[in-house]
Amino acid sequence: AQRVTQPEKLLSVFKGAPVELKCNYSYSGSPELFWYVQYSRQRLQLLLRHISRESIKGFTADLNKGETSFHLKKPFAQEEDSAMYYCALRDNNDMRFGAGTRLTVKP
């Protein structure tokens, strides 16, 4: 079965600093990976997915099959980026999430 690991439960950076939220996975097939975000008092929502290869709100994530990683990055963090971030991997209909990383961006 697939497995997703987010090694950092908490991450704190200052506004304007780069941020990287780590995600590692274990999966024998070709993975379909996602990042979800939950802002305070809002529902969990999709941030980006690896097949789209897009940048959303300044965030990017590159799938590295050699390192089995899908780290989320942003060059200049903003206070409004403070939220809970979840990495997820889908195998057919089975969607598994990591434990999540709470990002706090300090002014």
Binding site: Q6, K9, F34, Y36, R43, L44, Q45, L46, R49, Y86, A88, N93, D94, M95, R96, F97, G98, A99, G100
Partner: protein, 111 residues
């Protein structure tokens, strides 16, 4: 457009009482439906998912059960709640190859 409704938003129930949480999806047909439990430090735990009526996969053995009486309705139930059932429960849907869309969640407190 598609919408997902989950209710109630909050629920306080005594130990040993039954549970029924309901989730419905509008604007799509034959969605994949999911129940997750969100716990601090443990992320999102997949409880059940369903790819069709009466097709439900259980991921974690526990005293919870799920049913899908209609195409766009997914119900999470328990006959007797335990203290450990307290948590935040999320319903989600997806179509094949699309991302998951989540409901607002239900905060369950078992006293």
């Amino acid at each position: 457009s598609q919408t997902i409704h989950q209710w109630p938003a909050t629920l306080v129930q005594p130990v040993g009482s039954p549970l029924s949480l309901e989730c419905t999806v509008e604007g799509t047909s034959n969605p994949n439906l999911y129940w997750y439990r969100q716990a601090a430090g443990r992320g999102l735990q997949l409880l059940f998912y369903s790819i069709g009526i009466d097709q439900i996969s259980s991921e974690v053995p526990q005293n919870l059960s799920a049913s899908r009486p209609q195409d766009r309705q997914f119900i999470l139930s328990s006959k007797k709640l335990l203290l450990s059932d307290s948590g935040f429960y999320l319903c989600a849907w997806s179509a094949r190859w699309t991302p998951l869309h989540f409901g607002n969640g239900t905060r369950l407190t078992v006293t």
